[in-house]
């Protein structure tokens, strides 16, 4: 019995990893299906102090990407991959707070995309944007589940975080950067 004990956490960790990946996939596919079957309302979001919904969206997405870059830097530091040491004790709190804020910033953007515009495939950029957006929310769901799990392989959490970051950057490149470079900058 004692010989089997060390393998239990690993087996449990693998199980949690599989469950998190499946739930993440479920979230991503569900959002894609929702965007496809829901009749787009065409309505605009309240714009706060921006001049139009699109301006609000591109800047919220840009805020999310900025916070995501902070996420990568703080994670790299406390994993010991950025300079010497693992950083100050408050780095973990900064990482969690910036991640939460980034997630909150994406909610109105994704809501408008899914509720008012729907899933579109007429242009490659728009198709890629929709797929990456669904992947982002699936990846973030999986990452949030994994971050509280024990016994995971060492690569699991960095890979999940990297996937979230990559998807978000992809979303930003196919929306905000496109808007800034082809329509208007800064475009408040």
């Amino acid at each position: 019995m004692t010989a089997l004990a060390p393998s239990r956490p690993q087996a449990s960790g693998r199980g949690r990893l599989i469950v998190a990946l499946l739930l993440g996939a479920l979230v991503a596919v569900s959002l894609g299906v929702y965007g496809n079957v829901h009749d787009p309302t065409g309505r605009s979001l309240v714009t706060l102090f921006f001049t139009a919904t699109i301006n609000l969206k591109v800047w919220l997405a840009t805020l999310a990407v900025g916070l995501a870059i902070l996420q990568v830097l703080t994670a790299a530091k406390f994993y010991g991959r950025l300079g010497g040491g693992h950083g100050p004790p408050w780095l973990g709190r900064l990482h969690r707070a910036s991640g939460s804020l980034a997630f909150l910033a994406t909610i109105p953007v994704a809501y408008h995309c899914l509720w008012a515009l729907g899933f579109q495939a007429a242009e490659t950029r728009v198709l890629a944007h929709g797929l990456l957006g669904c992947a982002f929310f699936g990846a973030i769901a999986a990452k949030v589940l994994l971050v509280r799990s024990r016994g995971l392989p060492g690569w699991a959490l960095p890979l999940a975080g990297g996937t979230v970051f990559t998807a978000l950057v992809g979303v930003w490149l196919t929306s905000s950067l496109w808007y800034f470079t082809t329509v208007k900058f800064p475009g408040f």
Partner: protein
């Protein structure tokens, strides 16, 4: 604030954000947050 309390607050914020997102997609609150397209 202890680490445990902090993590609980962060967890609550994430859960609340996800819940609001789902409710919005279900149509709750859309009249408050959106307006008709310009004609």
């Amino acid at each position: 604030m202890s680490r445990k309390t902090y993590n609980r607050i962060i967890g609550a914020v994430l859960a609340l954000g996800a819940a609001i997102f789902v409710l919005l997609l279900a149509g709750f609150g859309s009249e408050l947050l959106t307006r008709p397209p310009a004609t």
